[in-house]
């Protein structure tokens, strides 16, 4: 298998956490994994990008030029990556904050930010996106993802962990 995922959104939307979580969910059963964040002189409110590659074979570069899936959290980021949305690519857009792009990719719209608001915290939109992505492409099982959420948030208060799990399940069923 080879799954190259690009995740992008506004700084603060949890793009990096979403990528790290996806990568760590795969550690037990996918042989080769890379996670690469955009790092650098980023400013608050700027764009945040990361790439996750899951592969049966060795990964040469953690940065890909073509993607099997693209997850987009806001409109500015969407415009930055619209040219990457090729025919065989699955695109998930946070339709609360993005227009549906006119591309040849298969586009799944997820009302992530609104659903997150309904759960009481706009910040969990990222895990709603993760749930929706895994529903469309089950590269890891929901159980593995939930285990990773608990591990990643270990030490935080229980209600926060449960809220994130709930967000993930909401996305899975959306």
């Amino acid at each position: 298998m080879l799954e190259r995922i690009l995740i992008t959104g506004a700084g603060g939307q949890g793009v990096i956490l979403l990528g790290r979580l996806l990568a760590s969910s795969a550690v037990e059963h996918i042989p080769h994994i890379t996670f690469f964040p955009s790092y650098g002189a980023e400013v608050r409110g700027g764009t945040s990008v990361c790439q996750v590659i899951l592969s049966a074979k060795e990964i040469a570069s953690p940065l890909s030029e073509t993607f099997d899936s693209i997850l987009v959290m806001n409109q500015i980021s969407l415009e930055n990556v619209i040219r990457q949305m090729k025919k065989n690519c699955l695109v998930l857009v946070n339709s609360s904050l993005c227009k549906i792009p006119p591309v040849s990719s298969k586009v799944v719209s997820v009302d992530a930010t609104r659903l997150a608001d309904n759960l009481g915290d706009t910040r969990v939109a990222n895990f709603i996106m993760l749930g929706a992505y895994l529903a469309a492409k089950p590269v890891v099982t929901p159980l593995q993802a939930e285990k990773s959420i608990r591990e990643l948030l270990a030490g935080k208060n229980m209600s926060l962990i449960e809220l994130n799990i709930k967000a993930f399940r909401t996305g899975l069923e959306s």
Binding site: R20, S24, F36, Y39, G40, A60, S61, P62
Partner: protein, 357 residues
């Protein structure tokens, strides 16, 4: 199978240093190596070790000198401009024959450059960035697993040879996350350091220095150092060979560039072109002989680097004019593309070789 964990390359270095028994870490912030300093700030005190954020890079390397002189294991890390500042200290460590581990998570240069990954500090690392006739051992990981494993090795080699050891990596390997298996062994045992300045109880005072003014003394030290370096050249050369048995095009690359070269080789092999890779793991000592042996049966050699061609010079020395040596590189934070490497391999493989000479 042992449990794998997901970590950034920078964190994997920090974790390895602690597992290797690093007694003290001194650092000063600079991107893209900040995760090492942050990791050590959190975890060194937890393990009852010393962490100090120094007031400058120069201060940090001299704190390393002090710790090493007292017979303890010390490490510092930085990125290119910060490593330039440490060069005087590294020369002093070499002169005083003190063990130390220095990590360079390279970024684009010259000057303050940028924060993108680079391999343009090869000359500085391998040819003696400071003054004087010295070498440091230079290790070049190409995965997060190796960032970890080679840090363990760095402490072993530093202690064994009483010499500074540098881990020469780059921003991409530092920032990326990959699964790895953590070192489970115990820290290598600390031999009694009869030379350390750690309290002269029931013995004559020790004296650690790199200043030798009496005529002939400094030459004697240099002869001793060169003898030590000859031993390191004999015993410590490490490299990875991939598909070099039957190759007609030999690639030579290290670190991030080697990763991309591996991708290029897999893709041309699928098209029936026999390319292979020699990846130096030690950049000093350099695997001249291993390259020379393979170069005997290839049409050409291709060096891939994130620089204007620095390791290229060592590869040319190794090949010694036997076959042409080509170069594919990017500078200033650029990273070579797999597609451009593939193109170069293809053009080398089409070369006609004169036979019967």
């Amino acid at each position: 199978m042992a449990t794998r964990v997901l970590m950034t390359g920078n964190d994997a270095i920090g974790e390895a240093a602690i597992r290797a028994g690093c007694d003290a870490y001194y650092g000063y912030p600079i991107t893209p190596q900040n995760e090492i300093t942050a990791f050590m700030a959190l975890h060194m005190p937890e393990n009852n070790r010393v962490f100090i954020q120094a007031e400058s890079e120069i201060s940090a390397i001299n704190m390393v000198f002090g710790t090493a002189a007292a017979g303890k294991r010390a490490m510092t890390s930085s990125s290119s401009p910060g490593i330039s500042l440490k060069q005087e200290g590294i020369s002093f460590l070499a002169g005083a024959e003190l063990p130390a581990v220095i990590v360079n998570v390279q970024r684009g240069g010259p000057g303050l450059g940028n924060i993108a990954p680079s391999q343009s500090d090869y000359f500085q690392a391998t040819k003696g960035g400071g003054h004087g006739d010295y070498h440091q051992i230079v290790l070049a990981p190409d995965s997060v697993q190796e960032m970890h494993d080679l840090t363990i090795l760095a402490f072993k080699l530093a202690g064994k040879y009483r010499t500074p050891v540098m881990i020469l990596t780059d921003g991409r390997l530092g920032q990326m996350m990959e699964p790895l298996i953590l070192y489970k062994g115990t820290p290598p045992p600390m031999q009694r350091k009869a030379w350390a300045v750690n309290g002269a109880i029931n013995r004559k005072p020790n004296f650690i220095r790199s200043l030798y003014l009496v005529e002939g003394e400094l030459e004697t030290l240099n002869i001793k150092l060169q003898k030590k370096y000859a031993g390191i050249r004999q015993k410590e050369i490490r490299c990875e060979k991939r598909l070099t048995q039957d190759c007609e095009v030999l690639l030579v690359a290290y670190g991030t560039s080697a990763r991309i070269a591996k991708g290029a080789i897999a893709s041309v092999r699928a098209a029936g072109i026999r390319a292979g890779l020699l990846r130096p793991i030690t950049l000093w000592p350099f695997p001249y002989d291993a390259i020379a042996r393979i170069a005997k049966h290839v049409k050409g050699v291709l060096v891939v680097e994130m620089s204007s061609g620095q390791m290229l010079e060592d590869v040319k020395l190794a090949v010694n004019g036997h076959v042409p040596v080509f170069f594919e590189g990017r500078m200033g934070g650029g990273v070579p593309l797999e597609s451009s490497i593939v193109k170069k391999i293809k053009s080398i493989s089409r070369r006609k070789i004169m036979t019967g000479h």
